[in-house]
């Protein structure tokens, strides 16, 4: 059966094995954090700050406390123990922001947690929370760019690790370039909005704490929480076998976990918190709004001579968070003269955080829109402009790409799309009342990895077990880790048990930065190879040269178990110890001294813009990607496709509206924060382009979770230009954008 969801593997691709957890997920038996039944559980409901800046003068808890069933209300006045500070994650810590949970009367952002109401039932906890009266002293908050009180700072002055990429003499080259553009773009604040809410359940058994919380970094949560509570990491166990969507929102230690743990200890019974959808907008992080200015200078035949990319990103008062996508955007094309700068803009907002392709999503909207504008200025096909400036060495330090299959991606996607039939003249293609536009863009994502461990066991009954505390966020990590062990041990994939998402297992790094498959499968393969060596197989290929199970039985062994510690190229000494602390940093991409490693792709989009209403639809999108070894064409197809649809959402739908006066989010629900629904998505074609790159790691895996969203929004904007002649530079692209631009 030909099935788009399970493409036939091409060279260097694994079989489309169905998901390891498929049955659990379609029967409702997969237990997510809030599904776990803890005995005699009490319910917590958060109270969130109604103001963005100021301080709490007083609480009146009387009416709330009088409600039958209310057990306690925690505030900064009565929490009774200070939660110890842990570092913010750009300082190497696990925390999503630097503000101590219930640490003081000060309010640093709208929605900040100011009290936790505890009750016997959820209904009473929620009712009581609405009866708490808070008297605030309100200061005028700063909402966003250009709001009164916004403070601009060059990122390099705030984060010593940041270095603005530069090479050559941009100013001179730009001044003399025969063809040039100078354009500004912006992208809005966006929230991950995984469908699973940010639940936390905590229960104590004596001095041992068990936490059920969806996490992309269980070891980080365990260690950070232990520090906050002043207990040993060995006293904390984090359990998170299934994560109901994350996209970056569940990677850091948020304020809620310590509060629930303290509440459970005070009450002497487990406590369950399921924050509301609205609270999720400030319980976790978000993608901050950005602005860009890009200048490109080229020769008349299209060779880039000068490139400048200035980025501006909103962050909070306490934390210098920035995604700094100039690291990638300055390295995509051959160009002798480049300059860049990143400026952070401090406002009274919660600290932003990682959201799917954090840096590349906004920065490639700018870069790839600008490349299209340059192509128009040159009267050149945009694919040919990329081809002319393609390079196997990044231009900043002349480091070689380990592999770069960009133009084959363009060629395969453009052929599947039918690009050769495009009339380049804007507004030239029409179907009745619909203006048709075709656009394209480059996708790219840094290939990163982190130290990882795994324990693998082989048993005489022909079964095997893989144990690693990685995180099933929908990426298919159970499945591909099981496939890796099955192949290398020569057992059927159905005979491999995979255990993950539990700090009682050997550590795996944060499931972010598209690092999980490359890191965890490398550790699994290393452990399997140790088992093979122990059983007399000295082959180094993917498949064993001896029957390992038969050998194990012959030797009368009960099992063979091996534990492996795998370190990626360029990892810092001590990285393995950091992994055990939940703080191993991903390494790779443009951060290596000797080479650069990226995955590449190309996306082609058809838009239809209604001639009268200006409604914008995306009836089809084709993406071709080359990301090294593909472990499983089924799970890979879904990840690429999901990323591309995220790109459609990022271009057309998603924007968190910010009240300019109150500095609070306005559309904090799934009816007003628009995400793509089924009717928004019609034809999505994913092409996996074979690529071999055993430099990145022995298995040759690059990581695919994020690349699908990169460049999509630019391809859509470029297609809208082609349909209408209107160049839209501010996301999201909506009917009103076209009306205003007209």
């Amino acid at each position: 059966m030909v099935d788009a969801a399970a493409p036939a593997p091409k060279a260097n691709m694994g079989d489309p094995v169905p998901r390891y957890d498929a049955r659990a997920k379609v029967t409702g038996s997969a237990l997510y954090a809030s599904d776990v039944a803890l005995p005699d559980v009490a319910y917590a409901f958060l109270l969130s700050s109604a103001i963005a800046k100021g301080r709490i003068k007083s609480f009146d808890l009387r009416e709330a406390r009088a409600l039958p069933g209310v057990l306690d209300i925690l505030t900064h006045e009565n929490i009774g123990e200070a939660i110890r500070k842990v570092k913010f994650f750009t300082e190497g810590g696990p925390a999503s922001n630097s503000i101590l949970p219930l640490g003081s009367a000060e309010i640093a952002y709208g929605g900040q947690t100011i009290a936790v109401v505890l009750a016997n039932t959820y209904e009473v906890a929620r009712d009581a929370a609405h009866r708490v009266k808070v008297d605030y002293e309100v200061d005028r908050p700063t909402a966003t760019f250009e709001s009164p009180g916004a403070v601009d700072q060059e990122l390099a002055t705030q984060n010593k690790k940041h270095d603005d990429p530069k090479v050559g003499d941009f100013a001179a080259a730009y001044a003399t370039a025969p063809v040039k553009i100078d354009v500004a773009y912006s992208t809005p604040a966006q929230h991950h909005n995984p469908i699973e809410l940010f639940a936390t359940q905590c229960g104590w058994n004596g001095s041992q704490l068990t936490v059920h919380e969806p996490s992309q970094n269980v070891y980080g949560l365990k260690n950070g929480l232990a520090t906050q509570l002043g207990i040993e990491p060995s006293q904390v166990r984090v359990v998170s076998p299934f994560i109901g969507g994350a996209f970056g929102s569940k990677g850091a230690l948020t304020q809620r976990t310590a509060l629930v743990a303290i509440a459970a200890r005070k009450l002497g019974r487990p406590v369950k918190l399921v924050p509301t959808r609205e609270q999720g907008f400030t319980v976790a992080t978000y993608r901050a709004e950005t602005k860009h200015r890009i200048k490109l200078g080229a020769t008349r035949d299209g060779k880039l001579q000068a490139l400048s990319h200035d980025g501006f990103e909103v962050t909070s008062r306490p934390d210098p968070y920035a995604v700094a996508g100039t690291d990638a955007s300055t390295r995509m094309y051959a160009c002798p003269n480049i300059t860049s700068n990143v400026t952070i803009v401090r406002a009274d907002r919660s600290t932003p955080g990682f959201m799917r392709a954090p840096a590349e999503t906004p920065y490639f909207f700018a870069l790839e829109s600008a490349m299209d504008e340059l192509a128009v200025a040159l009267a050149m096909d945009p694919v040919e402009l990329r081809r002319l400036n393609d390079t196997m060495k990044e231009p900043i330090k002349s480091l070689p790409y380990t592999s770069r299959t960009l133009m084959p991606c363009f060629d395969q996607a453009s052929e599947a799309f039918g690009w050769s039939k495009r009339n380049p003249q804007p507004g030239s293609m029409r179907d009745g009342d619909w203006l048709i536009g075709w656009g394209c863009a480059t996708s790219a994502y840094p290939t990163q990895m982190a130290p990882a461990t795994a324990r693998v066991s082989l048993f005489p009954d022909g079964t095997a077990r893989v144990e690693a505390a990685s995180h099933e966020i929908g990426n298919g990590i159970y499945t591909v880790a099981g496939q890796t062990a099955a192949e290398r041990l020569g057992v059927p994939v159905g005979k491999v048990q995979v255990l993950m998402g539990d700090t009682d297992l050997p550590p795996a790094p944060v499931s972010g930065g598209s690092i999980s498959t490359a890191s965890v499968c490398s550790a699994v393969a290393q452990a399997c190879d140790a088992i093979r060596a122990k059983l007399g197989d000295n082959g180094t290929g993917a498949v064993p040269t001896v029957d390992l199970v038969a050998t194990l039985k012959e030797r009368g062994l009960g099992s063979v178990q091996e534990y492996a510690e795998w370190m990626p190229h360029g990892a810092a000494k001590g990285g393995m110890q950091m992994l055990y602390k939940g703080a191993a940093q991903p390494i790779g991409g443009a951060k290596l001294p000797d080479r650069i490693q990226f995955a590449f792709g190309a996306q082609f989009v058809e838009v239809r813009v209604h001639a009268r209403t200006r409604e914008i639809r995306v009836p089809r999108i084709v993406g071709a990607f080359a990301s090294g070894r593909i472990m499983n064409t089924r799970t890979a197809h879904s990840q690429y496709m999901g990323g591309m649809i995220w790109g459609i959402g990022s271009a057309l739908h998603e924007k968190t509206e910010i009240d300019a006066n109150a500095a609070r989010y306005v559309n904090t629900n799934l009816a007003d924060y628009l995400v793509p629904v089924n009717a928004d998505v019609v034809d999505v074609q994913v092409i996996m382009v074979p690529e071999e790159d055993t430099l990145v790691n022995p298995l040759g895996i690059k990581g695919i979770g994020e690349i699908g969203i990169v460049g999509t929004s630019a391809a859509i904007a470029n297609a809208i230009y082609h349909a209408t002649g209107q160049r839209l530079r501010d996301l999201p692209l909506r009917i009103d954008s076209l009306v205003e631009a007209a």
Binding site: G28, A37, G69, T121, I195, F242, V274
Partner: protein, 207 residues
Amino acid sequence: MPKDRDDTRPDSVSRRRFLGATASTAALPLMGAAAASQASAQALPPPDPQAPLDMRLTVNGEAYRLGLDVRTTLLDAMRDHIGLTGSKKGCDHGQCGACTVLVDGRRTLACLTLAVAVQDRAVTTIEGLARADGPLHPMQQAFVDHDAFQCGYCTPGQIMSAIGCVKEGHADTDDAIREYMSGNICRCAAYPNIVAAVRQAKTQMEG
């Protein structure tokens, strides 16, 4: 038109086993918590609006008797008090569809339905579609075949909604499936695979 709930499963559920797995472990402790709430109410002068209300629910063919706060939603009653956690809470506002169940065969948002309002009506959840080790419902199997999910959190709601979609006669074309499945958000964006799954299961459900 809606048919009775037995049409939604390939074979009947073992009620004894079902009771053993859930009701005895989850519903009974709840009564303890409710009783505690009542006891503290007696210590205070105003009448207790939270006094637990005796109610009957029928879920997946099993009858449950519960004492619940009258404000308890069907979703919370099932998840927190019966122990059926397959139906998910994604928004609690009827905006995401993760809590979709069938009530008398019609798709219904359990988060917008008070438990007390569906007494004596037949509620079918994802747990009611297939026995623990038995064959999957055609819609469940189609979701597996077409990889119609990634994280899996919206999946129970998608599957229940998809069964409703087919039964309503809204699955005749891909466009109809897309439109009538748009009340169920999949943030992983498995939409094209969901459409393919509904198309496959429709043939089997009607064949």
